[in-house]
């Protein structure tokens, strides 16, 4: 899952070099800004998936989550 968190970094920062020109405009936005905006939304999706899969968030209520084994 920690690896999954690297995806937004690779996408947003790694990809920017390939889209660094204003045209074509996407949804009216210049391409680099559209790229970053899309990755903000994708980051939310990736992190929401990680949140759902992370066993740390599934501990039963009342159980101290910090005592649950992680990784």
């Amino acid at each position: 899952m920690l690896l999954g968190s690297a995806v937004p970094f690779l996408g947003m920062l790694g990809g920017i070099g390939f889209v660094n020109h204003a045209a074509p405009f996407v949804l009216g936005l210049p391409l680099p800004l559209a790229w970053i905006t899309i990755w903000v939304v994708l980051t939310f999706a990736v992190m929401a998936a990680i949140y759902a899969l992370d066993p740390a968030n599934r501990a039963a209520p009342g159980v101290d989550p910090s005592s649950a084994p992680r990784q």
Partner: protein, 492 residues
């Protein structure tokens, strides 16, 4: 007196009264004053953490940066998002340590994790130094917004003094609680204002957002993408990376995670926050709208772009409302920063370094007394002017990010970083940032052999690399002794 000024003064009076009323029913001991008695619910934890997104920095600074440098400003949206990804993993660990050790401040975290009071004092000094430009930029923005919104009826200096007086008064009396009440109103006002301006201005002047971008691309080719030099792609990548690591290293943000009821709340916050930061797009749109409408602003004046455009677009009463929003947007973070800085000076410098026997009451008294002093220093720099809002924040980020390696490594099972290593690394990194910033040296000048593609790298990241190297070397030199001690202790 103009209508706009009247509305701004009214808002100032309300902010002051609300801040003072927040005290009611609470004895202001150190814990109440500095962390609201750890009694803030989920909603306020969210507002505290989200409050970072909507300071005067994003209102005037981001739109001004768009106006002056175009694409460079996209970094703000990118780093606020990636910062949350790091926060998802980091904040629960910080929170657990804080709960276990009953921490109230960031320097205490270092003292406990590394068993080194000296490290705590170093962190406190650097943290306060980094927060000063952050307070300064709130006052600078406040001065700009009030003086232009009131059409010069109140000068920039008068506005800065007024804002500083209000925030000092309610922080001294109500501490963080004074900010809490104002924060709710401020977040609602800024959200509504920003969405309205970001939609209305492009439609009014260009007939839509898509048309606006085409008009700008036509008038200033290349402005909407990263340039080859200056705020180039490598500048964007390194700056985003650096700020994403630094975001939670701000002492006031770091310690606001302490107020959460549980670690799951923190994870949920970090997942949602990227969507909240999308509102910055509207700030960008408003900044872009100003480019062709209020041309000719240069240097530090680019921060004036948004409010100048508003002043020439809307009737005075509405400009007053925008000015009032700007005032609150500067006062709330100003209060949070002043509280955190004063607490650290009194608790983590005075008590930890000078007078360990000082009572809680004495430390609280000292913290309160320090508030006007810190505010006065910030006013001094705000009136001197010179730097843009974004430049000031970038310098603060470069400083606090130097804490990042030591914080992360402190959570590893067998921390390879020793307290001496962390101390020397942080010291080296911040010394490099300070030297490079004060002498205004770019990496290209210092390391002329660098390939052209790397020359625009953020100096903070270069300092972080130096920090890492020093930490590794000093840790390696001091570790064997430590390992031997540990082995003795365990009887192996």
């Amino acid at each position: 007196m103009s209508v706009a000024l009247l509305i701004i003064l009214l808002a100032a009076a309300c902010a002051l009264l609300l801040g003072l009323a927040a005290r009611r029913g609470h004895d202001m001991d150190l814990e109440q004053w500095s962390v609201g008695g750890r009694s803030f619910g989920t909603m306020f934890v969210f507002l505290l953490l989200a409050g970072e997104i909507y300071t005067i920095f994003s209102f005037l600074g981001a739109s001004g940066f768009i106006y002056g440098h175009g694409a460079g400003a996209y970094y703000i949206l990118a780093y606020l998002t990636l910062n949350q990804v790091i926060g998802y993993w980091l904040l629960p660990l910080v929170w657990r340590t804080a709960r276990r050790e009953h921490l109230v401040s960031q320097p205490q975290f270092f003292v406990r994790q590394y068993g080194s009071p000296a490290l705590g004092i170093l962190v406190a000094v650097i943290a306060v130094a980094a927060m000063i430009p952050y307070v300064v930029l709130q006052f600078t923005g406040l001065g700009i917004i009030v003086s232009i919104a009131s059409d010069g009826a109140m000068s920039r200096a008068e506005a800065v003094w007024l804002g500083a007086a209000i925030v000092t008064t309610y922080v001294m009396i109500s501490g963080l609680r004074g900010a809490a009440w104002n924060a709710v109103i401020k977040d609602v006002m800024i959200l509504v204002t920003v969405v309205f301006l970001g939609t209305y201005l492009p439609v009014h002047y260009y007939g839509g957002i898509a048309r606006m971008f085409r008009a700008i691309d036509h008038a200033k080719p290349g402005f909407l993408a990263f340039p080859t030099h200056g705020n180039s792609v490598i500048w964007f990548q390194t700056t985003v990376l650096l700020n994403a690591m630094g975001g939670f290293m701000w002492p006031h943000v770091f310690s606001s995670t302490f107020t959460a009821r549980g670690e799951r709340i923190l994870r949920r916050n970090t997942v949602i926050m990227p969507l909240y930061s999308l509102m910055l797009l509207f700030v960008f749109f408003a900044g872009f709208a100003a480019i062709l409408q209020v041309p000719g602003l240069q240097g530090a004046s680019i921060d004036l772009a948004l409010i100048k455009l508003c002043a020439q677009t809307f009737p005075p009463w509405f400009v007053g409302v925008i000015g009032a929003t700007g005032l609150l947007t500067a006062l709330v973070p100003g209060a949070v920063l002043l509280t955190a800085a004063a607490t650290m000076l009194a608790n983590d410098l005075y008590r930890a370094g000078v007078s360990p026997a000082a009572s809680n009451a004495a430390v609280t008294r000292l913290a309160r007394a320090l508030v006007p002093a810190i505010a006065a220093v910030a006013v001094f720099f705000a009136l001197r002017g010179g730097a843009t809002i974004v430049a000031m924040l970038l310098m603060g980020y470069n400083l606090v990010t130097q804490f990042f390696p030591a914080v992360v490594f402190s959570f590893t099972r067998r921390n390879p970083v020793t307290s001496q290593g962390a101390f020397c690394g942080i010291l080296g990194g911040t010394a490099a940032v300070t030297a490079l910033t004060l002498t205004n040296t770019s990496l290209a000048e210092m390391l002329p052999f660098l390939p052209a593609s790397l020359r625009d790298m953020n100096i903070g990241l270069a300092a972080l690399i130096l920090n890492g190297a020093v930490t590794a070397i000093v840790s390696a030199a001091t570790r064997p002794r430590l390992a031997a001690q540990e082995a003795d202790g365990m009887g192996v």
